[in-house]
Symmetry: C2
Amino acid sequence: MTHRIAVIPGDGIGNEVMPEGLRVLEAVAKRFDIDLSFEHFDFACCDYYAKHGKMMPDDWFEQLKDFDAIFYGAVGWPDTVPDHISLWGSLLQFRRQFDQYINLRPCKLLPGIKSPLADRKPGDIDFYVVRENTEGEYSSVGGKMFEGTEREVVIQETVMTRHGTDRVLKFAFELAQSRPRKKLTSATKSNGIAITMPWWDERVVAMSGNYPEVSVDKFHIDILTANFVMHPDWFDVVVASNLFGDILSDLGPACTGTIGVAPSANINPEGTFPSLFEPVHGSAPDIAGKGIANPIGQIWSGAMMLEHLGHKEAADAIIDAFEAVLTEANPAVLTPDIRGQGNTQTLGQAIAERV
Amino acid sequence: MTHRIAVIPGDGIGNEVMPEGLRVLEAVAKRFDIDLSFEHFDFACCDYYAKHGKMMPDDWFEQLKDFDAIFYGAVGWPDTVPDHISLWGSLLQFRRQFDQYINLRPCKLLPGIKSPLADRKPGDIDFYVVRENTEGEYSSVGGKMFEGTEREVVIQETVMTRHGTDRVLKFAFELAQSRPRKKLTSATKSNGIAITMPWWDERVVAMSGNYPEVSVDKFHIDILTANFVMHPDWFDVVVASNLFGDILSDLGPACTGTIGVAPSANINPEGTFPSLFEPVHGSAPDIAGKGIANPIGQIWSGAMMLEHLGHKEAADAIIDAFEAVLTEANPAVLTPDIRGQGNTQTLGQAIAERV
Ligand SMILES: CC(C)[C@H](C(=O)O)[C@@H](O)C(=O)O
Ligand SMILES: CC(C)[C@H](C(=O)O)[C@@H](O)C(=O)O
């Protein structure tokens, strides 16, 4: 069975890390005898948008909907296209239209990557943030009244549904149950956001009835962010609404020093539509073109994609490979951001060889 | 001129740290010849609520409105009164009814207090979070539809007004202008929360016209929390909506290791109503009654109160005093949370003597 992958390198360093992501995928596909086929798309600010004045052709949905996954680099080039146009015209379209209602991000302390936290070593921090990815605080409902006057009022509604909430909770509980610690933490703010969040808490309690082995706790988002810094070892799986998950899934990788190398998955668990796998970092115009971007975020995203496609062993082989290369810490191989003298290609090659 | 202060020690360790807060205020009042009068109120779960089944008498507004300030310990005793009842029946009432629309919290690395961040020393981190304290995401507008069914929809509205937004921005710009670095950072999420937050950005730009000396930048809340951990030295004054400010003003003190000793001010800048000064920590039922709570949060809140009442020099004397005691680090004086063998009183006394 062939897995058909749509490849969207995007802008800036997206074009530099993508070849390394593909190189490692090809190596692991060979070793584990997995059949992957790649088709490239030029949906980027500096490419499709530059030629056609929009991020994607009108039939993008038709073109992409039958792929098994989307492997995405980084889109954005603020000098020519404002972020809200490039993002709502691409990434956020995929999340909504392909109903990728799970955003999943690992927060893991890696060998050889300096964490801003004191006294933490690999193994101490290893958890997932599961974020609701389609509704909640990111709604388009609301508006302005008395616009432009002293009396101006601006309203935006947070819209949560049982359908949308229960399915992300279910995914998070399943994930927690599959892990050794079987621990789920819910991000809430029911002491302040007094309509939606107490209801969120109730849904967590209701869902927990189906997972008696999973131990559940909750923290208000303010003290939860504090605990990410003070006690990151407490967490195993953290589930959160769209906005809280957005915050926690940047803060988590920041605490492990991996914001430049963290991966993320936008998943449609039923497989009705393709899921999308992308590094957390952006297109980084400041270092684009220099060939020094760290490709691990793209490579790690490839591992998440393989796991999603049912190849857990191959995914683990990729993770083992980059952890081994990081542990070895050969400066000639590593990129400058992790104290090496190498470049995007030397690091990508070393990981591919290790696979 | 006498400053009339309403004193509400509250529950748990609130009752233990409050006497030390008052002791230090009395010492500094003597030294600087300031006339303070204190009147005590028993508005607490384990006191007024236990006797009357509500947090405060019906005429609390009348009783308190003519004081010059409220000095507040910590309210809450979840074993007998659920948090949303104690908090909405007390602290959140004061913030709204007394129009304390500024929540101000310093984030400062102190001598002798261990920060969870690696390689940071006192002086490296020293900024304020200015939080909007009355509207925004903490609204009571919204509700449920199809309740209890699979189709359930829950909506809560974020309500921002120009009146409410401009006044907190003005306060933050004034504060930034009064500080040597003159730098203001706005917390936003205009790339995702696409109605209220782009408008917030516009108000920041509009207000910045009045403060040409203040340099302004903005970060989306996700990467801003990451930057609190990675680059806390970047910040001078950070201004944020109610929810974002709530998050940042716990995360900031967490990064400096001071969440147990940080102070906060709920300010009505016009002085129409009393402002309220409280430590960030809660009533801490787990250590209540042991006499080991660290009183610095209460004492530091007293300093913020004096500054608000126009006695900046006296406020600085308190801060200098506890910084000196922390630098000295005499274990017989310090509380156990900061590696001492002393107790709440020994630490309070040492600081009062130093004043
Ligand atoms: C207790 C809670 C409602 C409150 C808030 O969110 O405002 C608290 O977290 C604070 O920051 O004072
Ligand atoms: C770019 C932005 C709209 C997006 C989000 O908030 O979802 C990003 O922060 C992310 O986490 O992928």
